[in-house]
Amino acid sequence: MDRGRFGSQQDGFPAMAGDLSFLVTAAHELKAPLALIRQLALSLETAENLPAGERERMLRQVTLTSERALRLTTDLARSSRLEDGLFELEPLNPRQICEDVAHELSPLYKAKNREIRISARYRPLLVVANRDLLRRIILNFGDNALHYASDASPVELRVQTLDGGSRIRMGVRDFGPAITADVWQRLESHLGKATQPLHARPQSSGLGLYVAGQFATAMQGTIGATRHRDGATFYVDLTASTQMRLL
């Protein structure tokens, strides 16, 4: 069942910046990857007779985990500059954005034995968006999905046309254990509006979704989520370009 869209009026980042819970959430979200990097580095420092393949694998994990943490810090920095309005909206091919994201996330997915794939027409309607912000939203969803997808099922990046072609929905569908009803209720009521309580979704405390919501709002879009029996879809709805219809 589609649980519908979520409000587009979201709290501004500056207001949240003074919020202690926001800082705590941001710190927590960064702490997890940093703690892992530290543990791996400490082991590499002291390990004796570590097989070359194992060493290589650990170094790869350090690289991919640090890249994930850097994506978050970049998002936070980008989010704090949204009010400057220094970004352009332009007609973009949503499939191309999905391909860029899949390409960027594929090393991380591969390292975790997961698959990411695209389910979209080759020539979908164009979407009016900022390339960087839209890419970051889908990256966030893709990163979030990685933690909830089951080993056997790929994560899908999907593009749909809505409202007779006036809106485009870009979503990330994961197939895994269903989100429990209580977690879903919290998620649904807060999605994109504020960070989640820390216990709501451990690997993703909601900061990524909050930032994605900020980016969507800056592009006159909204984010939302659909709960499935076998997973969830997180999506962003944006205005379709009229460019094609004018031709």
Binding site: A35, L36, R38, Q39, T46, K112, P177, P202
Partner: protein
């Protein structure tokens, strides 16, 4: 012959779980890793561990749900638990002692041998 100690790791970050397993394995401790509380309950049902290394924040039911479940079974209530969390500063000792938690390790500051030492301390 001495029985090889067996520890169940409940950690939803698979690479950190792998790291814990590697560290404990080097110390001669056999491990199994599961990503969430429900899998942990299944695992404990079939193979009772000598100790549990438990992350606090898990996908789905959290660590306290698992601890409640373990405490409700007489044969499982005695399993010693080591909480391994990034939120150690938010934990009140009195809140967790009743759950059989023997030690809290802070993921951000612990050293690999801290985990080995903590586990060895609680092994029978």
């Amino acid at each position: 012959m001495t029985k090889t100690p067996y520890v169940l790791i409940v950690e939803d970050d698979e690479w950190l779980a792998e790291q814990h397993a590697r560290t404990l394995g080097e110390a001669g401790i056999r491990t199994e890793s599961v990503p969430h509380a429900l899998a942990a309950i299944d695992s404990v049902d079939t193979n009772t561990p000598d100790a549990l290394v438990l992350d606090l924040l898990l996908a789905g039911p959290n660590a306290f749900t698992l601890l409640h479940e373990l405490r409700s079974h007489a044969d499982l209530a005695a399993i010693p638990v080591i909480l391994c969390t990034a939120n150690a500063e938010g934990i009140v000792d009195e809140d967790i002692q009743a759950y059989g938690v023997k030690q809290v390790l802070d993921k951000a500051t612990m050293l690999p041998h801290d985990l080995v030492a903590a586990v060895k301390k609680v092994l029978p």
